[in-house]
Symmetry: C2
Subunit: 478 residues, 2 copies
């Protein structure tokens, strides 16, 4: 990490902790320079980063100020306590969500699609289109089963930002993060094994456990700091847990970033109980703060963390390029990758490597971070405006999803059926649980340009919620 | 099937059965027209097809003649009888084969790479390069989990040639045939289950069984007609076999095409013992005869055949586009596909659909069929010239691999170590068995343009074999 990035991280943390409250003037450039023993320009660069992260605003001739926070909706509740390892179902509901391809007559607020229309993505399209020019047909052939070397070298460089020093030889390119998670799970667990997951948990992970015949043990989760370490510890003592699978950075669906201290404690727990950690970092690069948060893998000193990620959320999902840093499980993961898909398509790997090498990736990230953060605020405003009072909304620190919690008796499966007729699709909460939880929740995507059409769609969702609630109240009073 | 294709098939069969011996004049166009009640031009088209398949040659003003056969090497022996279900190992040897990426200093005769340098592939490169032109960004997004509709429609059309009427809705696009086989196996079997396989068997299939914790039961195989149905029947009576996995058309590594009558009997056996059939047809489209051979799936009337294939051998492996027609197991296969990779990259699917729609696929196949058949003859000549007397060689009816059987005490693993130092790589026979068979065999690829450099490489392999054999004889006589 560079000096200015480190300084920005320190200041960002103080702001988040409330040490510098909203609206307050921050220390002058000169003061900070003396206090931290760094140059004036280092402090200026640090402040520029914080401006980009929307934590700080510069006022001409007055200095830097903490940006005032906007009114927030109430947070979703901490989730219910651990129960027991369970088998997963809900495949039909997931299939309903993912079966549709993009189409004009349906506003898909349900899926994990990033925005792909920003001009910063153009060099990638160009690189992808360069196939076979200059007579180089390498992209038509199998490459190394570990993935194209140039790409692994670029990923290794990017990983430094999350505190990981991992050589290209320790990485395996996969067909999206899906394959990384699936190969990782198959490398460390067998059918019947118990896997602890954060709850709510990404439905793709849940379905992978189901498909592999593994059991999920859902660990309650705080909407700001992530999985409860106390509950996890109890679970580890009570059950033979083989792996802990979670998304500590920019969690899907809750959006929190687990504090570093928690990440370290979690790793220690895993070491004490000899469990592997499968860390899904697919949204980690689009945290709203810069430098991006560290991964659990950054603290891993005995190779038990399998870090999984992809370019599906940062660039485009149709590329199907992900990766895994499997630590001590490299050989097993390679085998699982070989039997799953043989290898990953060569051309997208070459194109992405070129895109990163020329600096386009970081430029694109900067733009998307700012965009998604603005969209988060706008979408939160719409939810507060159109949804019934008492609606609880997550406060994501990255990514592009809101988790919305309605009255505990509300049924979003029923809501979804009404919405379908109106050309809107949401993700129902129940697919994020293995034990029938979150039926009163939904997840909404705010990646796309937030047009008036999307606002109307959100309003339609809110209206339908209100109507269904009113009908329920009427029914109860009968 | 068209009339002329049907007539060509009848004539081709008679030639293969020896009814019309080599060098003999075939019935005149007029005679055949009367005999079969078809038009003159239909007979002419049929003869043109047979010419393309190198079964027949036209002599000006004399008519059509059966092409004379070339001297053949002895065939590999029918493989050893059924033993018992076994666990698979040999992963290290497979990894050694697949770990290398294409490089200048290594002649890779071992891998299943098609030739990608023919001009008939150019329209595909163009289609692949068209990404994002005209502002269509569809290729960057997830498409339907079943795969791009246009591609599934084209595949459904192609499948008619192998006798299959399968709607686009019954197909699932996969990331190569690897994912098709893996998802198919996971859909019908569980860890610990027994799967019957043809022996020798593609090493990818073997490793998939290993990775999924399933057991392989190797069924002996005839080098011209495929798996022994008698041995298979005995095995089905003796063991609780869940699935039969085999490559009946242009088998890898033996190159045979199982006769239709065998395919039907095999299906009946599977029905009687309620086993699923996983049919790998990845080389079926490059059979040297036209029309191409039928699949077992063509006779499937109760949806128990899962037909797996890809464009990796017909077009290019780096595209990673395959498919599966899973019959009654569609829903399970969809789930397995979802948890394995989420979906398959969109852009190659769109490009391949366009390539097929414009007729380029069939044109490319025609060219490759002729090329590979010529190469087979040339490579067989080289083997007979450079390898020791007594070497047995397969007689492939399609694909681009020769299976070579050496003296029963010869060890090709040892051979491979010597060859590595000389910059040549072969596929050792032992990776095609789960029970330690085929240590005296090797597989050689003849897809590439057979240059003087490749001839020298084959000569080096032959020389090394001779030297090792001479050394062994000396050691024995000591």
């Amino acid at each position: 990490m560079t000096r200015y990035a480190r300084l920005a991280a320190i200041l960002g943390q103080r702001i988040e902790q409330g040490l510098y409250p909203a609206g307050e003037r921050l220390p002058s450039v000169r003061t900070l320079s003396q206090e931290h023993g760094v140059s004036i320009s280092t402090v200026q660069q640090a402040y520029r980063l914080l401006e980009e992260s929307h934590l700080v605003e510069a006022r001409p001739k007055s200095g830097y100020f903490v940006r005032s926070r906007r009114p927030q909706a109430a947070l979703p509740a901490v989730t219910a306590p651990v129960q027991r390892p369970v088998d997963i179902s809900q495949w039909e509901q997931v299939l309903e969500l993912i079966r549709n391809k993009p189409r004009a007559d349906l506003i898909q607020l349900g899926r994990g699609m990033p925005d792909i229309h920003e001009p910063t993505l153009k060099p990638l399209l160009k690189a992808l289109g360069n196939i076979g020019r200059h007579g180089d047909l390498r992209s038509l052939l199998y490459d190394s089963i570990q993935g194209v070397t140039e790409l692994r070298e670029q990923i290794a460089r990017l990983l430094l930002d999350s505190g990981c020093r991992i050589g290209a030889g320790q990485l395996v390119v996969t067909t999206g993060c899906h394959e990384a998670l699936s190969a990782g799970l198959r490398a460390v667990c067998r059918p019947g094994d118990i896997v602890a997951v954060d709850s709510p948990c990404f439905h793709g992970t849940m379905q992978t456990l189901k498909g592999l015949g593994m059991k999920a043990l859902e660990i309650p989760t705080d909407p700001l700091t992530g999985v409860s370490l106390e509950a996890l510890e109890m679970a580890l003592e009570q059950w033979p847990i083989k792996a802990i699978l979670l998304t500590p950075n920019c969690n899907n669906p809750l959006g929190y970033i687990m504090p570093d201290a928690h990440k370290k404690r979690l790793l220690m727990l895993a070491q004490r109980h000899d469990a592997a950690i499968i860390e899904d970092d697919v949204y980690g690069d689009i945290a709203y703060r810069y430098p991006r948060p560290r991964t659990i893998k950054a603290f891993d000193d005995d190779g038990r963390v399998l870090l999984c990620s992809s370019f599906s959320k940062t660039l485009a999902p149709g590329l199907r390029v992900g990766w895994i840093a499997p630590g001590r499980y490299l050989e097993r993961v390679l085998h699982m990758k070989y039997i799953g898909t043989g290898s990953t398509a060569t051309q997208p790997q070459l194109a992405i490597a070129e895109f990163i090498r020329h600096g386009h990736y970081l430029q694109h990230l900067r733009r998307m971070r700012a965009r998604y953060q603005q969209n988060r605020d706008r979408m939160t405003d719409w939810i507060m405006k159109y949804f019934p009072a008492g609606t609880r909304v997550s406060q994501p620190r990255g990514g592009f999803m809101l988790w919305i919690e309605l009255h505990e008796e509300f049924d979003t499966l029923r809501l979804n059926r009404y919405l379908e007729q109106q050309g809107v699709q949401i993700a129902v909460g129940s697919i994020f649980s293995a034990s029938g939880k979150y039926r009163n929740c939904l997840r909404i995507n705010y990646a796309a340009k937030l047009t008036a059409e999307i606002e109307r769609a959100v309003q339609r969702v809110g209206d339908t919620v209100q109507q269904l609630m009113a009908a329920d109240t009427l029914a109860r009073s009968d």
